[in-house]
Symmetry: C2
Subunit: 82 residues, 2 copies
Amino acid sequence: MYQSTIIITLRPSILDVQGKAVEHSIHTLGMNQVGNVRIGKSIHLTVNAVSEDEAKRIIEEACKELLANPVMEDYSFTIKKV
Amino acid sequence: MYQSTIIITLRPSILDVQGKAVEHSIHTLGMNQVGNVRIGKSIHLTVNAVSEDEAKRIIEEACKELLANPVMEDYSFTIKKV
């Protein structure tokens, strides 16, 4: 069994309105040292696979087929045996 | 300057309806090896701080004051110098 965390972010060229709003709110609280805020999704899941390679293949497929929008989003993931 | 990725997740005791829906969709695509899907937010930002400790303090404050709901959500973050 493998535990994976997938991070899905908007591509850098795409304006992140939600990130801009959060950055503005952080500045309003006085934390002006914070910048470049961008918001993404994190997806946490387990994969029942016999090898790490098989688990990676399944996660890649899930990202490509369902979880990420290939036009607007990038994805990355980490995986560990549990 | 420090780059940080913050992960905000629903607490384990709270039902994640969105995660359940995504898990159902993944199974519909034939990937029955996937389970325990939970969805969170990822927040990517930079902090202009003189030390890693100061950057961590600012990120902790942003999480507690604004980014995470302490009743329903947990947060964790990674940080690296850029």
